[in-house]
Symmetry: C2
Subunit: 363 residues, 2 copies
C-alpha cells in the first residue's frame, strides 16, 4: 500500500483504507457541462472551448469502451496532453471494477449506457443562474446512491466537468469558505485571477454575498455551480449511510464536501477524498487547506509518477498539466485496494503507456 | 420454498433456485413504449390507449418511490385493476433489493433515475419498421449487464411495455416459432385474433415471412418488435456470462429467450424464467409451450394468490386480469430467495393490500 499517500488526517485515512482492503467497489463517474468552460482561458479540458461539450461524454466512452466514439482520439488540452480518463480506464480495467456513468446535465450524450437524473446543461455562472432542477437531481441522485450501496461494499465517485474548478470556487465563496487561490487547474499555470473574477461576477449577478449561502448549498449551486454538483453530492449522501464513499477528484471535492456537510453531516465519517500526487504537489492550489475549513475527512493520493514515460504527453503531467479528473486518483486507489496490491502504480503506468501509444499521437 | 412452483424443467429449476438461495440480487426493470398499444383492444395496461405512454414511467416510479409522480394514483386497466408493479414494489421493499431502471425507448420520462441506452419509442408494428437503433441499444445493454454482473450474485430483469405481448407474438412469428394463440394478455379475455392480425400486418408490411428471421432477431425486432426487447436481451447476454439471470415476466420472455438463443446460446444454462401463478393458470396462453420450442430453460412461478383479498381490484387477478408485468413474479421469487424464506407470499400479499388501500380506490 506504499502506493497510497496519506495527505490529510493520516490516522483516519489509514482506518478508511483498511475498511476497503479486498472489498468490492463500484466506480461511478458523474459528467456534466457548464458554459463557463467556454470563457477563454478558464479550462484546458478540451482542444478548444467548443470541444469542452464533448470532453465528458468522450471521457466516459473511453472508460467503458477503451476508446472514444463522439470524438476522434481522446480528449486533450490545447497543448495535446491527454485526458486523465486514460489513467482511470487503466485502473478500472486492471482491477475489473464495474462502472456506472451518471449524467448531471449534458449537451452531447455519450455512446455508452448512462444514468439520466433529469438534469440539464449548466449556464455560464456569470449569469447568476447557472443550474436548473438542482433539488430534483439531488433527490434522484440520492435514490441512485442508496440503490448502488446495496450492491457493493463501497462506492467511488469521480467526475468530468470542464470549467469545474471555477464553479467549485464560486460555490465555496457563496458558502463562506476561503477558497481564493486554492482551487486547482488543468493548466500548469493556474488562471486564479480570471477564475476569481468569473466567480465574483456570478455572485454579484445572483445577489449573493460571500458566505450568504453557507446553509443553502443547493441555492449556491443553482446560482453559480455546475450540474455535476447536485448529482455527485446526492450520490454521496444516498450511499454513505450504508457504505464508505471515496470521493475521487481534486479541489472540486471540497465543494462536494461542503454541500454534503450542510445537508447531511452525519455521513461524513464514512467519506474520504482520493486524488492524485499531482494535486498534492500543486503549489498554486491547496486541497488540504480547503478540506480543513470544511470537515475532518481523510485525503488520500495515489503516488503515480509519469516522469519516466516515453511520451511527452504523459511526462507533461509531471510539469503540472491536467493533474486529475474523471476520478483518476480514486480509481487507482480502489484498483490497488480491490486487488490487495496485485494492481500497483507500476502496472497502471504500463497500462496507461500502452493506451497512450495506441490512442494518442505524441508531440 | 413451497411458495415457488416449478413449472417447466423441474430439476434444472431446483438447481437454479439453489444457486440463488441467500445470494445478493439486483432487480432491473426495462421500460419502453410502442404505438402498437394504441390499437383499440390490444392492451389493458392503462386506463385508455393514450395513457399507455405513462404506464411504464409510472410503474417504475412506484417501484422506486412507493408512489407515482407522472400520473395520479397508479396505472390501472380500463376496469380499474391496478398494475402488478404493486406486487414488485412489495417484494423489493420487503427484501431490500436494489433496483435499477432501464429505458429502451420512452415518450414520457420517469421522475426517478434511469439508465438511458439511446433507444427511442417504438412505432406501431403494422408499419413494418417498429424500432430504431436496435443494434446500438443491444450493445449498450450488454455493457450495462456486464457491469451490473460485477456488483451482485445474480440479476433479475423485468419489463413494462404496454402492447408487449403483441410485439412479442410478431417477433416470435418472424423467428419461426409457433406462437399463435400462445401469448398472454393483461385482459381476462385474450384478443388473440386482433393480435395475430396486427402481427401479420406488420410482417407483411416489412416483407418478412414466418420464420424468415430465425437467425436475425435484431432485424425481427426492428421490423415488428418493441424497444424493450434489445435492451432486455442485451442485459441478459451481458450478465449471464458471469452470473445467473432470472428473466421476470410472462410470455414475452419467450421472445427474449429466442433472441438470446439466436445471438448467444452459450449463456442459456445460466438463465431461467420467473413468472406468476396467474400466467401458468392462463388457459388462453401457453408459456411452457413457447419455451420448449426455443430452449430448455427452467420456468418458475410464484404461488401468489389474491382470492382472499379484501379488495375487488386485487381479487380481479384471480379472474385473469393483468396476470404479470413489471417483473412481479421474478421479484417475488428473488425476495423469497434473498431472505431465505423470511419474506413469503403471505407477507408480500399483506404488503400489497396495504399499498392498495393507500394508493388505489377500490370499486
Amino acid at each position: 500500500m506504499s502506493d497510497i499517500i496519506f495527505v490529510h488526517n493520516r490516522e483516519m485515512g489509514k482506518a478508511f483504507i483498511e475498511r476497503l482492503l479486498g472489498k468490492k467497489p463500484i466506480f461511478t463517474c458523474v459528467i456534466g457541462i457548464t458554459e463557463t468552460a467556454k470563457i477563454p482561458g478558464i479550462s484546458a479540458a478540451g482542444k478548444n472551448p467548443e470541444l469542452t461539450y464533448y470532453t465528458p461524454p468522450a471521457d466516459v466512452e473511453l472508460l467503458m469502451l477503451g476508446k472514444c466514439k463522439c470524438i476522434q482520439g481522446v480528449p486533450v488540452t490545447p497543448e495535446g496532453i491527454p485526458t486523465p480518463a486514460l489513467i482511470t480506464r487503466a485502473a478500472l480495467k486492471l482491477a475489473d471494477i464495474p462502472t456506472v456513468i451518471v449524467s448531471g446535465g449534458l449537451k452531447v450524450k455519450p455512446q455508452v449506457p448512462f444514468v439520466d437524473l433529469g438534469g440539464s446543461p449548466g449556464r455560464d455562472i456569470r449569469s447568476g443562474r447557472a443550474v436548473d432542477y438542482v433539488e430534483d437531481v439531488l433527490e434522484k441522485a440520492m435514490m441512485l446512491g442508496e440503490n448502488l450501496a446495496k450492491t457493493v461494499d463501497y462506492l467511488v465517485v469521480g467526475e468530468s466537468v470542464p470549467g469545474g474548478t471555477t464553479t467549485a470556487l464560486a460555490v465555496l465563496l457563496a458558502m463562506g469558505i476561503n477558497a481564493e487561490g486554492k482551487v486547482s487547474s488543468s493548466m500548469p499555470s493556474n488562471p486564479h485571477r480570471l477564475k476569481i473574477e468569473t466567480a465574483k461576477t456570478g455572485l454579484k449577478a445572483s445577489g449573493v454575498e460571500f458566505g450568504a449561502l453557507a446553509n443553502n448549498p443547493m441555492k449556491a449551486v443553482s446560482c453559480v455551480g455546475d450540474p455535476m454538483m447536485p448529482a455527485f453530492a446526492g450520490m454521496v449522501m444516498g450511499a454513505a449511510d450504508r457504505i464508505p464513499v471515496l470521493m475521487a477528484g481534486g479541489t472540486q471535492m471540497s465543494t462536494i464536501l461542503a454541500i454534503v456537510k450542510a445537508l447531511k453531516p452525519e455521513v461524513l465519517d464514512n467519506v474520504a477524498i482520493g486524488t492524485t500526487r499531482w494535486i498534492i504537489l500543486d503549489k498554486e492550489a491547496d486541497l488540504p487547506g480547503l478540506v480543513q475549513q470544511i470537515a475532518d475527512v481523510p485525503v488520500l493520493a495515489i503516488n503515480l509518477n509519469f516522469s519516466s514515460s516515453k511520451f511527452n504527453g504523459l511526462r507533461a503531467y509531471e510539469a503540472g498539466a491536467v493533474k486529475e479528473g474523471v476520478g483518476a486518483g480514486g480509481a487507482c486507489i480502489a484498483a490497488i485496494l480491490k486487488s490487495g496490491g496485485a494492481v500497483s502504480t507500476d502496472k497502471i503506468f504500463i497500462e496507461v503507456e500502452k493506451a497512450y501509444s495506441s490512442l494518442c499521437s505524441d508531440f
